[in-house]
Amino acid sequence: MSAIAAPHAGTHPVRAWSGVPVLLGVLLLAFLLHIAVGAKQLSLGTVIEALFNFDQTVFDHVIVRNLRLPRAVLAVLVGASLSLAGALMQGVTRNPLADPALLGLTSGAAFAVVIATSVLGLSSMVFIPWIAMLGALGAALIVYLIARLVPGGATPLSLTLSGAAISAFLSAVISVVHLLDQDTFENLRVWLTGGLAGRDITLLLYVGPPIALALIGGVLLAPRVTVLAMGDEVAQGLGVKTGALKIQLLAVVVVLTACSVALAGPLGFIGLVIPHIVRLYVGSDYRWIVPYAALAGAIYLLGVDTIARIAIPPREISTGIITAMIGAPLFVQLVRRRTR
């Protein structure tokens, strides 16, 4: 677990910078592929025409501009957010298994949304992101407090275990809500599997600005995460105010996770797997891990969602299912590679 604790000193700037245009190019290709393919086959000319000469009376143009394009934007934002949040959490907790899902944030956000909508009847789009943020923050604090109370304090292991326990507990409470009101809960069942189909793009009006701010904040804080990953004492010795930094990072992670959950439901594995893949290329320097993770996370979710839409036509598979199906074996492979 300590393999990522020490920053990798050898991330050569040329090597690191050289990957950025490649990732941006792949992101652009993945984005174009996402809007070019789908249930209805459209020619490349139609796609380009829809993008640059939109006619709202032509259904094929509506497909591209109003269905595929917003969904691709959602995939980019959610993928980047979850991956960046995972990278920051792994750095700040010095725990390679940390990610928003494993440490209870995703469950906390989902739990809060389920309770607010099914029990309290709060379903307004305006409230959902804030409710999700409260849930994620509450879960994060509880996980941290439990880990602190364990002999030895908030170690990577105690954080992981308490996160798993809180996630399991919140899932159990969600199941109880389901049992008490199965019919109302049916509406949330699909949302809880995580996915991008049929999401209301107007939600972006509320979650877009916080996501953008949190992504920028995460990238700006990344250099100090590198120092923090050396350990609190070393970071303090280098003049970093670790307490304030951790609070800022927690805020960034909570906002990114909660907004992602509000947009797409609880999607797993992105924040866990992508930072590990990124590390294979850029080492352990968070100045590079964080932006790379954001770009790679966006590419990953675009790819996964494209598969979810075209794998078994005409039906779409829930994106969350494909994310887990691809993410789980990928993670096992990464662990095996690290063990060797």
């Binding site: 009101d181 509406n187 996915g195 039906r315």
Partner: protein
């Protein structure tokens, strides 16, 4: 001979078990082959029936004039309820002696306490058949094997209510004849969809409204006619224009708090600006019907749907549409 206390207790227990099983043993039985292919000895005239699905089993049973002693109940916001009961049969947990035996899996002890002489279940029910069989003869009646309303035949046979079924069928045929008279043999198309999981869901024959439309002679778009089996199929919002027809029916679900406006908002999310790409919608021939009634296995629901369809097509220029 000395009877030991332990033996006495065993004999007493056996006696109680026999007494509990008395309704079964006392009745004349016959062999019945159910939808799972099992041959079960069932009472010729069952008196205490438990049904383990509401809209598929309890509603048909009540429409045939039999009130079960126990029935499948869902947990809702206002307490347990049977889907379809309030609007179709009017017989609810509150105004009848029907005991709620839970949803799926049903409460085995609650069923046993009712001492039923027949349990009617389906593959939807998760309560183990091995446990149900111990309580009373248990038969599977599947509503997704032979199409809408077909379960009535089985339930009528199991309960000796074929005469009542004949009356229901006769009323239904009269309602269909009314529709046929208005259609006048014209080639008018229809389709029924709903939005679920951010997609469009469709069936070859969707609930009783689908049966009413097909029996009345409506044609369906190729995308619906091409569906096989009785299960729903999901489609991307990109496929919506393929479902366009002279008359389109969209279901909404009031039992889950969904209003007609919510259903419109949902389909707008699935396919933005959907109305301008559907001739049915542009021509104001886009009809919303409550899902609970549209999909129920019920002759009452069939009558309600026949009325809804009749109202939708009456007064329209069907000749122009048929062209």
């Amino acid at each position: 001979m000395t009877i030991l206390p332990r033996h006495a207790a065993l004999i007493a227990a056996a006696g109680i078990a026999l007494l509990l099983a008395a309704p079964v043993f006392a009745q004349e039985t016959r062999a019945y082959t159910d939808d799972a292919g099992r041959t079960v000895e069932v009472p010729v005239a069952p008196k205490r029936i438990v049904t383990l699905h509401d809209s598929s089993l309890t509603v048909p049973l009540v429409e045939l004039g039999i009130i079960p002693v126990g029935a499948f109940g869902r947990n809702g916001e206002a307490g347990p309820f049977m889907r379809g009961a309030a609007t179709l049969t009017g017989v609810t947990f509150e105004n009848s002696d029907i005991v709620n035996v839970g949803a799926s899996p049903a409460d085995i002890e609650a069923i046993a306490a009712l001492e039923p002489d027949l349990i009617i279940t389906s593959s939807f029910q998760e309560a183990p058949i091995e446990q149900l069989e111990v309580i009373a003869p248990t038969v599977f009646v599947e509503d997704n094997v032979r199409g809408e309303l077909a379960t009535f035949e089985d339930i009528a046979e199991l309960t000796n209510t074929q005469d009542k079924l004949a009356i229901l069928k006769s009323r239904y045929q009269a309602q269909i004849d009314q529709l046929k008279a208005v259609l006048g043999g014209r080639n008018i198309s229809a389709s029924i969809i709903l939005t679920q999981e951010g997609q469009i869901a469709a069936w070859h024959t969707y609930g009783v409204i689908g049966k009413v439309l097909r029996d009345a002679g409506f044609t369906f778009p190729a995308i619906i006619d091409g569906l096989e089996g009785t299960e729903r199929t999901f489609f991307s919002g990109e496929e919506l224009p393929a479902f366009d027809a002279d008359f389109m029916f969209l279901t909404y679900d009031p039992s889950r708090g969904q209003s007609p406006q919510d259903a419109i908002a949902d389909i707008e999310t699935v396919t933005p600006s959907f109305c301008q790409f559907l001739t049915a919608c542009a021509g104001e021939r886009f009809v919303l019907v409550p899902r609970e009634d549209a999909v129920a296995r019920s002759y009452t629901a069939a009558g309600m749907m026949a009325s809804a369809v009749l109202a939708a097509i009456s007064g329209r220029d069907l000749d122009a549409l048929a062209e």
